[in-house]
């Protein structure tokens, strides 16, 4: 990793340089909401960017895993047909202003979607065409990324900015980013910059108020498979899949196929599908392996905090807290895990 420092007013030049490409960044959403809300969207002017954003409603996921995506089309002729695959990636996109949690979410998705057997080309095609500019964040009351070890990004970005006040501290992680920074007025960081950088990180750590105790969590989830806590949370759950929709790492999906009205073509549609939805585990003939809402909710925790750990040595959760914020029923990861753990303590 190489480091540089650029002056604050140089940031707009960086943006302009990158803006010959399509740029996605954090923008304000719904000016009439009681509290300001933000989301990622295409940006056409530096002034639209809100780099001070606390968090966004949705993550970057929709750009790499769209909620609905056409996997392929078919041309049908009598009992013969041809299949036409389109990966739906046609241009590189710059993502300007991404927090560490979301970068880590992409890194986790990389492991299962492009790093394991049967790599997913639809994902890979979009992921490979990302230019990611990270930015340091200001932890919110619902953020528990520190517990998940995802409060800092080690890779998976091109450059990462830390706001030092008058300057930005820039971590450079790709040749393209290096090219880019060399065209700006930048300098090597000095001892003072190192101190300022570490101070910012230190301050950030003190701001975390939400925590998840991950100690032996995989075992506790197995021990507490029959815990009553699940049922309590299940009663609240709407089975609406909002948690999975806003989650930066939920990737489960379903496939539907549709015939065109002229009967001359067909398409295969992938729809991101939450494991909380009623028919997620329904099989042909109607049997449902998880008919109760609590069994589906439990499964979601199982997948994220046990199964994924078993497969990749890390949970499929970056502690961004979006699911808890978006859940109308107020189901949050720290509370669910604490309740399941508490049950464990009470039993002893």
């Amino acid at each position: 990793m190489l480091f540089r420092v650029i002056a604050r007013n140089e940031l707009e030049n960086l943006y302009d340089m990158l803006a010959v490409n399509h740029v996605v960044g954090p923008v304000s959403r719904g000016d009439d909401t009681p509290t300001p809300m933000f989301d990622f969207d295409f940006v056409y002017d530096f002034k639209e960017l809100r780099l001070d954003f606390p968090s966004t409603i949705h993550s970057l996921k929709r750009y790499v895993l769209p909620p609905k995506e056409r996997f392929c089309t078919f041309t049908i002729q009598d009992n013969d047909w041809q299949k036409d695959v389109d990966l739906n990636a046609h241009k590189p996109i710059v993502y300007f202003g991404v927090h560490a949690c979301d970068i880590n979410a992409l890194n986790k998705l990389d492991k299962v979607l492009s790093g394991s057997v049967y790599p997913d080309p639809y994902y890979a095609a979009k992921r490979k065409n990302m230019f990611v500019v990270g930015i340091n964040c200001n932890p919110q009351p619902y953020c528990f990324c520190h517990s998940m070890g995802t409060d800092s990004a080690l890779h998976g970005f091109d450059m990462f900015l830390t706001d030092l006040g008058d300057d930005y501290f820039v971590e450079i992680h790709s040749a393209q980013a290096f090219d880019c920074i060399n065209k700006l007025n930048s300098r090597e960081p000095d001892e003072q910059d190192h101190i300022r950088f570490l101070e910012i990180t230190d301050k950030k750590l003190k701001k975390f108020t939400s925590h998840v105790d991950n100690t032996d969590l995989t075992k506790i989830l197995d021990l507490e498979f029959q815990s009553e806590s699940w049922k309590e949370w299940g009663k609240k759950c709407f089975s609406c899949g909002t948690c999975a929709a806003v989650c930066p790492t939920c990737y489960c999906y379903g496939i539907t196929e549709n015939v065109d009205m002229d009967l001359q073509g067909a398409s295969k549609i992938k729809q991101l599908y939450s494991c909380n939805l009623l028919d997620f585990a329904e099989v042909a003939g109607g049997h449902n392996f998880r008919p109760d809402s609590y069994t589906r909710l439990k499964y979601r925790y199982y997948h994220k905090h046990r199964g994924f750990v078993e497969a990749f040595e890390e949970p499929l959760c970056v502690g961004c807290g979006r699911c808890g914020e978006a859940c109308l029923a107020g189901i949050t990861v720290p509370e669910v895990i604490a309740s399941v753990r508490d049950k464990e303590n009470n039993n002893e």
Binding site: V117, A124, N129, Y273, R306
Partner: protein
Amino acid sequence: MNKLPFIDVLAGKEEHGRKSDLASFEYTYQAEITNVYSLTNTEKLYQIQIIDPKERQRFCFKPGQFVMLELPGIGEAPFSISSSPLRHGDLELCIRGAGNMTNFLSLVPRGTKVGISGPFGTSFPVEQMYDQNIMLIGGGLGLVPLRAPIFSVLEQRSRYGNIDIIYGSRNPSELLFTYQYDTWRQFDIDLSIIVDEGDETWNGPVGLITSILEERIAAAGDISQNTFAIVCGPPIMFKYVCDMLVKSKMPIQKIFVSLERRMHCGRGKCCRCNIGSTYTCLEGPVFDYWSVLNLKEAI
């Protein structure tokens, strides 16, 4: 700065040896339905041949693996392969009309092109079972995934010890592959068939599959050392069967089962087939009984 270059993941040099993998994700073999036989009122046997001769020959699978069968615009679903692995891409799939895709499939004429992808999943380790006795136990539709290992074992009959095939179904009209029983019996095996409810055509045993199993275990004597079991059927059936095998001292790692879940991708991505947090499509559908006990919500 110039425009960022667009990276085509399917073009140019292979990146990390992944290019062919990426290209194959949505690749379907074009195959043709060459023949259809009715086995019962609800099940049909489809002979499906991969059209390209090279692809057909290259298509290799192991007994217990499954393929995804696609009817464009209608649907795609997983089916375990019922034919002998020696036949490569000349497949036989036994399919019950139970949903949109399978019902439409029962209407399409011979010669219709379908899509095949795979093979996917784990298989019954028949090589591990050389010189050993094997009990193949199937209930209902469970004979479908058993048929490939039966072929494998019979084709190399001299490599194995005693072979017991135990098959149960609700009634005689639901028995699958009845036309093959005599052929199988010519291979020096014990084939026992039992139905829950007999009818006027039936003069075989009536009762639960476990009653026949009990007899066969007694006949086999000691099954704690040299015997493997392959079990397939509805969850309730294989729970009782496996319990009985375990009670009779068969080691749990020598009992293999095939589990059924609804896969949407077959490639360890969609999570629809997960049991607990295990992908049935990658780590299954064939599990040893230890893995089943180790899974939450498996049975």
